[in-house]
Symmetry: C2
Subunit: 351 residues, 2 copies
C-alpha cells in the first residue's frame, strides 16, 4: 500500500506540557506555575455528571442541543451552521481538505497547526506577513485575534477577503479560538451563510476546560453537514457535551469572567512593567512580549518553576498566560523582580 499525500510534517512544540517543563528545568521548585498556554486558569465550576455519563453512548439529541446553545453563544445564524467536535484541532485537516489542493496562505506568525494541517491536506503552504497576500490564496487562514501577538483583523476586511476567495472557489478559515475575550464585533461567525467561510471556536480556552476536548466549526449548512459526516456519530464525549451545554448557556458567567480576565491581563502587564518589560500585545487570556533578552527571561522564570511559552523561530518573543492564584502571582512577581535586578546589575557592569 502506498501512503497518499504522506509527506512528513512532524510534530510541533506547544505549551501546556508539564513533562516538557520538568525536562527543561529539572531543578525548578514544584509545582510549576504553567503560564505557557492561553487557557483560563479560572475554569468553569465543575459539577457532578450522572453515573451514565461515561457508560452510555452520547445521545444524538444532546449534540444537537449543544449545537443550538453554541450557535447562540457564538452568534452563528443557526444550529445547522455549527459542528461540535472533540477539539478544533481534529477539524483542521478536514477543513483544509474542503478545497482542492492549491495554495494555502496562513497569516503569520501564528498558531502553527494550521500550516501543518494544510500541508496534510495536500496544499502548498506559505506563512505570509501581509493581509493582502491572502487574496492570492485558494485557502486563507487568519487567527483572529491572533495568537500570540493579539493582532486583530477587522470583520470588514475578512468579509472582503472571503468574497474575493469565494468568487474563485477558495475558502477563508478564521480561527476565533480567543474571540470570547476578543473584540467580538470583529467575529464573522454570524456571516458564514455568505459562503466560503469556516469559523473555528474553541471551548477549552475561555472556559478553562482544555482536558475535555471540545471545539466547533461554524459554516454554511452544506459544509457543516459534510464535516459532521466525516466525524461520524458520537464525535463528542458525554462530559464534553454536558459541560458545553451548561457553560455556553451561562451568559452571566461569561460576562463576569470577561471582566475578571481583563483585570488579570492588566495586572500581568503591570507586573512585566515593574520588571522593565513592555507588553506589546495579546488578548485577555495571554500577553505577548518582544524583547532582546527574551531567552534570559524564559530561563530565569523556568528556573523558578514558572513556565512561559518561547518560540524556536522567534527568539525575542514570549507568550505568558494568566496566573490563577495569589501564590502564583507572587511567585511570578518575585521571579520577574529578581531577573530585572540581575539584568540591571549586568547592564551596570557593562558600563
Amino acid at each position: 500500500m502506498t501512503l497518499l499525500d504522506g509527506r512528513r510534517t512532524g510534530t510541533i512544540d506547544h505549551g501546556g506540557s508539564l513533562e516538557r517543563a520538568r525536562a527543561l528545568f529539572p531543578k525548578a521548585p514544584q509545582p510549576f506555575v504553567d503560564l505557557s498556554t492561553g487557557i483560563n486558569p479560572h475554569s468553569y465550576p465543575l459539577f457532578e455528571l450522572p453515573a451514565t455519563a461515561l457508560s452510555r453512548l452520547p445521545e444524538p439529541g444532546r449534540a444537537r442541543d449543544l449545537a443550538a446553545v453554541a450557535a447562540t453563544a457564538y452568534g452563528a445564524p443557526s444550529a445547522a451552521n455549527v459542528v461540535p467536535a472533540p477539539g478544533t484541532q481534529i477539524l483542521l485537516s478536514r477543513i483544509a481538505s474542503l478545497v482542492r489542493p492549491g495554495r494555502a496562505f496562513v497569516l503569520g506568525p501564528t498558531y502553527q497547526e494550521h500550516a501543518r494541517a494544510a500541508a496534510i491536506a495536500g496544499h502548498e503552504v506559505a506563512e505570509v506577513r501581509s493581509f493582502e497576500r491572502l487574496f492570492e490564496a485558494d485557502l486563507a487562514v487568519v487567527v483572529n485575534p491572533n495568537n500570540p501577538d493579539g493582532r486583530v483583523v477587522s470583520r470588514a476586511d475578512l468579509l472582503d477577503l472571503a468574497t474575493r476567495l469565494r468568487a474563485k472557489g477558495g475558502l477563508l478559515v478564521v480561527d476565533e479560538a480567543f474571540m470570547d475575550v476578543g473584540p467580538r464585533a470583529e467575529s464573522v461567525a454570524g456571516d458564514v451563510d455568505l459562503g466560503g467561510i469556516v469559523v473555528l471556536r474553541s471551548f477549552g480556552k475561555f472556559f478553562g476546560l482544555a482536558g475535555i476536548r471540545l471545539g466547533f466549526a461554524i459554516a454554511q449548512p452544506a459544509i457543516a453537514e459534510r464535516l459532521e459526516e466525516e466525524l461520524g456519530p458520537w464525535a463528542v464525549a458525554v462530559p464534553a457535551l454536558e459541560y458545553g451545554i451548561k457553560a455556553l448557556s451561562d451568559t452571566a458567567w461569561h460576562t463576569e469572567m470577561r471582566a475578571t480576565l481583563t483585570k488579570a491581563a492588566h495586572r500581568l502587564d503591570q507586573a512585566f512593567a515593574r520588571a522593565g518589560v513592555i507588553v506589546t500585545g495579546g488578548t485577555s487570556l495571554f500577553r505577548h512580549v518582544d524583547i532582546e533578552d527574551a531567552a534570559s527571561l524564559f530561563a530565569a522564570l523556568g528556573r523558578e518553576g514558572i513556565l512561559v511559552r518561547s518560540f524556536a523561530d522567534r527568539p525575542t518573543q514570549l507568550r505568558c498566560g494568566l496566573p490563577g492564584t495569589e501564590v502564583e502571582w507572587r511567585r511570578l512577581d518575585v521571579a520577574l523582580g529578581d531577573w530585572a535586578q540581575d539584568r540591571q546589575a549586568a547592564k551596570g557592569a557593562k558600563r
Copy 2:
C-alpha cells in the same frame, strides 16, 4: 467553493438512543432497559480524576503511555503501532482515505458505518456476502467477530487476504470492536507489521464506557504516524486517557469480566429458548436472532420498555445486548414469556 467528494451519505440508525426509544414506544414503562447496543452493562469501576483532568491539556506523554498499555492489552507489536483516538468512528474515513479511491468491499451484513466512511473517502462501495469476493477489492473491510451475527473469519484467512491485497497496493481493515470477548487467537493485531492491515479496537464496548469516546487503530508504524498526524495533538481527552490506561492494564478485571459475560450470554440464550427463540449467533456482548416474527417480538419488548436492535433492511433479525441487573433480567423474562404466550395463542387460533 465546491465541496469535494460531497456525495450525501446520510445518517444511519444505530442502537443506544433512549430518545429514539421514547419516540418509538411513548407509553412504555420507564426506565427503559436498553439492550439495543453491544456495550457491557457492567462498566469498569468509576474512579475520581484529579481536578486538573478537565482543566489542563492532555499531556503528550500520557497518550504515549496509553499506546503502550493498549499495545500490550491488544497484542500489537509495539506502542509505535497504536493510534489512540476519540473513538474508532472518527478514524474510519481517515483509514479509508489511506488508499486511492477504488473498490471498497465490506463483508456484510455488518456495522454500516464502514460502507459510509469508504464512500466519504471516494470509494465505490459494495457489501459482499462471500469472503472470497474481498480478494477483488482495493479496500476490504471485515468486522471480526462480526456485528451482529458473530461470524468469525480465521486469522489464517485474513493474513492470506492481506497478503494478496498488499501485493496490489490494497488495504485490509479488520474491525475487532468485539474481539475482547471474541476468539482472541483470530486477532490480527499482532500481524500489522506485515503491512497492508489496519486493525480497529474499541474501548467503550468491553469496558462499558462508551460515553468517554476511546478507540484505537493498530497498524504499521508509518501508517500509525500518518493517522496520528491527521488527528493532531491532544486527540484524546484526559478522562479517556486516564480510564484507558487504568482499565487496559487491569488484566485481572479482563479475565473476570470475560467469564461474567460468557455466563450472561448463556443466560440470555436460555431466556430466549424458554420463549421458543433459538439464538443463532453473536458474541458474549450481544446475541443475534433470526426469526420470521422478529417485528412482533421487537414491538412486544418495546411496549414493555425493553429496547433491542432491529434492522430496517433485514426484518427477520434482532440483536440483543445483556441486561445489567436482576430487575432488568426479570423484566426481559416476563416480556419474552408474555410474547411467547400470545404467539402460541395466535398459532392455536390459526389452526
